[in-house]
């Protein structure tokens, strides 16, 4: 059994001052779920592929006289296979249980969490909420990744419960792969900027769709002299995210409730504009509008860079189908469509010069505090996720 099959205990999660308090049993529940997920991916997922290769695909080929043309044919063909059904039913149940465990943890201390957030937020000029901002349809049509209430849901005034639940659960869901503070994406981005653009000194940075700000905090800490703006449409995320950033010492971020399709800053205001795991939670119409806003807001010489899950181009239909599982079964309704897009074309349509477009692989930064045995060098023993990063300059 490889080390990867043993995710780190949730007891290693980074506990900043805004983080919910957890008991022994809360930790054990998250540990159960992380190990269940590890089992599902390490022990069961290869069996799903075998079922596909050994019986489902041959049957499809006999019936159609050709291999499946795309992931949708794979999905329909495999739906009746018992190994796939069991894996899927367990995976879906695990997602639902993760939400239940996170919500139970957070809701039992909701008044205390609200007080902690208020202590950091009340009167702060670095948190700007705007009640006129309504949830966009793409963030409200379903509760994305099965988080009851979604990003916008609030049980009471000043609610931060879903922000806290989101922050608490990522470590278990990802098996610690994003680091103690779930900020592996932001840390990768900061490291990539440092390595590829050592002389870049952005004065103003914008992060769109920041949720709890977990990916913008490392960037803000990497550029302490920059003025950083993090926007989201969801007030519960911003309240929690602002208090969280304060607790982690990132005091140069202003959290603003705003919609990325229409942002309240003048043309050319920002030198760096980022998103992380954002586009797959938008929509076909919103995406070009937000890209056009990014183009408008970027200063000449500015840079925009986006972290996303890998695009589907070049993957075989089965691989695409497996990556698409969340779209259908974990409430990610734009995921499938978005991962088919030609991102360069989208950026070009938004006004960017295609000659400045780039697309690269970006590897997460291994958190040595939880994976000390990963050692140095490029070998990460599967402890770091790999994303697609794309962007352009103006």
């Amino acid at each position: 059994m490889t080390a990867r099959e043993h995710p780190p205990s949730w007891s290693h999660v980074g506990r900043h001052a805004m983080f919910p308090e957890a008991t022994h049993d809360d930790v054990a529940r998250f540990d159960f779920l992380a190990n269940l997920n590890g089992y599902l991916s390490a022990a069961m997922l290869p069996r799903v592929r075998e079922a596909w290769e050994s019986r489902v695909k041959p049957r499809f080929e006999r019936e159609h006289g050709r291999p499946p043309a795309d992931r949708h044919e794979v999905r329909k063909a495999i739906a009746g296979d018992p190994v796939y059904q069991t894996w899927s039913a367990l995976r879906r149940t695990s997602m639902e249980m993760r939400q239940q465990v996170g919500r139970a943890l957070v809701l039992h201390q909701l008044p205390e969490l609200i007080e902690k957030a208020r202590a950091a937020n009340d009167g702060a000029s670095t948190l700007r909420l705007d009640p006129s901002i309504t949830p966009p349809r793409y963030a409200d049509a379903v509760d994305i990744h099965c988080m009851p209430g979604g990003y916008h849901g609030a049980i009471c005034d000043d609610d931060v419960s879903n922000g806290a639940n989101y922050d608490a659960g990522i470590f278990a869901t990802t098996g610690g792969m994003l680091g103690r503070y779930n900020d592996g994406g932001g840390r990768a981005l900061a490291q990539w900027l440092r390595e590829t653009r050592p002389d870049f000194r952005p004065r103003r940075i914008l992060d769109i769709g920041c949720t709890v700000g977990h990916n913008i905090v490392p960037v803000a800490l990497a550029y302490p002299d920059a003025e950083v703006i993090a926007v989201d449409t969801a007030a519960p995320m911003l309240r929690y995210g602002h208090a969280r950033a304060r607790a982690l010492g990132a005091t140069n971020i202003t959290f603003v409730q705003a919609n990325g399709e229409s942002l309240p800053w003048p043309d050319g205001h920002f030198d760096l504009i980022t998103t992380a795991m954002f586009w797959h939670e938008t929509s076909n119409r919103a995406m070009p509008r937000i890209l056009a806003e990014i183009h408008r807001l970027l200063a000449p010489g500015g840079l925009t860079v986006h972290l996303e899950q890998p695009q589907y181009h070049g993957m075989d239909p089965y691989e695409q189908f497996i990556r698409d599982w969340d779209a259908y079964n974990n409430n990610e309704p734009f995921w499938s469509e978005m991962h088919d897009y030609d991102l360069k074309a989208k950026m070009t349509e938004a006004g960017f010069d295609p000659a400045t477009y780039f697309e690269t692989k970006m590897r997460g930064v291994v958190d040595r505090a939880i994976f000390p045995e990963a050692g140095g060098g490029s070998e990460d023993y599967g402890r770091a996720p790999m994303w697609t990063a794309f962007g352009a300059s103006k």
Binding site: D31, L36, R92, G150, C156, P333
Partner: protein, 127 residues
């Protein structure tokens, strides 16, 4: 000013809230999946108990109150063994109650266990 929770705020039920969006059911018979989801929740709570027991043992060991070797080498006396065996037997019977009941009703001489309510209603209506 402390947070004002809505009237009837029940963190236990709210923790279980359903996410917006139709749930996919993967098995042909949703009953199987329903039972599986309950079994997985019990499996999780069992793991929690096991982890708590392990933590307790380690704390006691750290305080020098016992050693886990002692626990592993634990040999109950005859009376304790009988008590423990009785408990285990009862436990297994409780877990498998439904199977036992189904099997009892299947015995030819115990057809009386499985007479339907409408059948008995009809009988009582005429007796």
């Amino acid at each position: 000013m402390s947070a004002t929770l809505p009237p009837g705020f029940d963190p236990i039920l709210l923790a279980n809230a359903k996410a917006k969006g139709k749930r996919p059911w993967f098995f042909a018979d949703p009953d199987v999946e329903r039972v599986m989801a309950i079994a997985m929740a019990i499996a999780m709570e069992h793991a929690v108990t096991r982890q708590r027991l392990d933590a307790l043992e380690r704390v006691l060991e750290r305080k020098g109150l016992m050693s886990r070797e002692e626990l592993d080498a634990f040999a109950p006396g005859p009376e304790a063994e009988a008590e423990r065996t009785r408990w285990m037997k009862g436990y297994i019977a409780r877990v498998l109650r439904i199977i036992q009941q189904e099997a009892e009703a299947a015995r030819p001489e115990r057809r009386d266990l499985d007479r339907s309510m409408p059948e008995i209603m009809e009988e009582l209506r005429h007796s």
